[in-house]
Symmetry: C2
Subunit: 314 residues, 2 copies
């Protein structure tokens, strides 16, 4: 029952960073969250940002660090080149690249690339969530990972065989901020949208329309002019259209055999997708995204012998 950290695990995205100190059984001993993602760290220095967070958690000077996310991109700390799919999840974790010239042992997990002519795609960070999602070692699994750029991933017998990106969160944000719909919408915490009747209705409509969303956008503006649609209902309607459209499109691309999906999400957005996937008639197994990324980072530390394997028997 160790209370001593054996590794620091970092999920380092474009705009934010999350850091944990993990014990030998994988338990969380300390946690840090910051806005110093890739964009900030490029100015401040990756090492400086990292050491600041480690110091805030009183991490020992020799503690090894395992990182996933955009810190491994070409614009990041060092580039951890993409692995091409199909890629066994174990091989992804084992491919972690050591950052040179650091006093600590710091390694960054590579992202994945799909080099299909008509469906090129990339991910960085989600591969580590996948590794920690507790997927069965065998069989075919379709995984939905909602967010700014939602990823849908097919995992077969422990290997990622294909994936796609739907920029659903980003579309909501730029339509709400920069399009004519900005006159119609209010802020929409996902928690408010859940259970809204407009969300449900337009989600079903987008599912029926097979992902054709653009034909329904201007109607939100018109409904404000002609039908007194409230700003909150307008936001729920846009959200329903976009999420319903994503699901309609993704399940056409990746046949959801057996009608089941593994949802790797968290918080209000995770709950909203759980509701929506059920609306679409899919059976959902939910995995907490925060726990999944920690578990994946911990597994990577073990795979790379940054910590003794026997300590990770939890």
């Amino acid at each position: 029952m160790s209370a001593v950290p054996v590794v620091a695990a970092i999920d380092w995205g474009t705009t934010r960073l999350r850091a944990w100190l993990l014990a030998g059984d994988g338990k969380v001993l300390a946690e840090q969250r910051g806005d110093d993602g890739l964009i900030t760290a490029r100015e401040t220095g990756f090492s400086t940002v990292l050491e600041r967070h480690l110091a805030a958690m009183a991490a020992p000077a020799t503690l090894p660090v395992v990182i996933c996310g955009m810190a491994g991109s070409r614009q990041g700390w060092i580039e951890a080149p993409y692995l091409d799919v199909p890629a066994p999840i174990n091989a992804i974790l084992q491919g972690a690249l050591r950052v040179p010239d650091t006093a600590r042992d710091v390694r960054i997990i590579p992202g994945l690339a799909q080099r299909l002519t008509d469906a090129p795609d990339v991910m960085r960070g989600e591969e580590t969530q996948l590794a920690g999602a507790g997927l069965p070692a065998e069989g075919r699994h379709v995984v939905c990972m909602p967010g700014t750029h939602s990823k849908w991933v097919v995992v077969e017998d422990g290997a990622v065989t294909g994936f796609g990106t739907w920029p659903t969160g980003e579309l909501f944000s730029i339509l709400a901020t920069h399009s004519i719909l900005r006159h119609s919408l209010s802020e929409h915490p996902a928690a408010v949208v859940a259970g809204n009747e407009q969300f449900r209705h337009w989600c079903l409509q987008a599912l029926e329309d097979g992902g054709d969303v653009s034909s329904r956008l201007f109607a939100i503006r018109a409904a404000g002019l002609l039908q007194d649609l409230t700003a909150e209902d307008a936001a729920a309607r846009l959200s329903g259209l976009l999420i319903g459209g994503e699901i309609a499109s993704a399940r056409r691309r990746f046949s959801t055999a057996g009608g089941s999906v593994v949802l790797v999400g968290s918080g209000a957005l995770g709950a909203l997708y759980a509701e929506t996937l059920a609306l679409a008639g899919l059976r959902v197994r939910s995995v907490d995204a925060d726990a999944a990324v920690r578990t994946g980072l911990f597994a990577a530390a073990r795979e790379n012998r940054m910590i003794a394997r026997q300590e990770g028997a939890a």
Copy 2:
């Protein structure tokens, strides 16, 4: 062969204004274009903006003026309330509202509203283009009017029976400016896109996908990272996806009986849509949008007896 203007015709949109002096046979005697659309005119004053343009064309002080577009919206000069569809085109023109307290006879043509529960929609300006598009008095016609907010309209026996809006131009603009695709795209004059192989390929793909566009957006970014897609090709690809998606969606909503469409467009964008509609297997009759709006405004002036009917026999 009159060289004396009988009416000033104004197409007054959100961001720009076009004005013509028309002779008794409908010919253009003078033309003005300005950036003083609704947004500017709300500050400067509609009457001031109008008189400045009329003075620049040396219009007589008593010349009547007929206007279409956003100047008739709630935020405009005066609100010319929407006519509801189904609406005979003649009735729209006859519904022009006189602006009170002006020395001149100034009238604004109303827009159209479609008060369907699940497909509310509005237009202002396009109804006047329709009136001038030379549609046969009988039969069913599907009209495509490309732009920032493309309109597709069904006209049956001289009446507008339904329409829809696809915000294709606006989507291109906000994706190119505010989304992650801004790193991948260059400016794209429509003339450059026409004939581009990426435009053609992705337009066909969007037609096949039935208007599901969001699943293909992030691939443009990934193709830049993995396949060295150039900025110009990226813009052509986005444009092809969005226009192809619009056409796939619109022709599903408004059955294009007989496979033919009337295209009311102008310039490079009009040419691009003509190419794309043909790619989609539709027969296209093209009408110049600038000529159509002038013809519609002139017809409105006659319908409202602002000019003698017999002068308009051209």
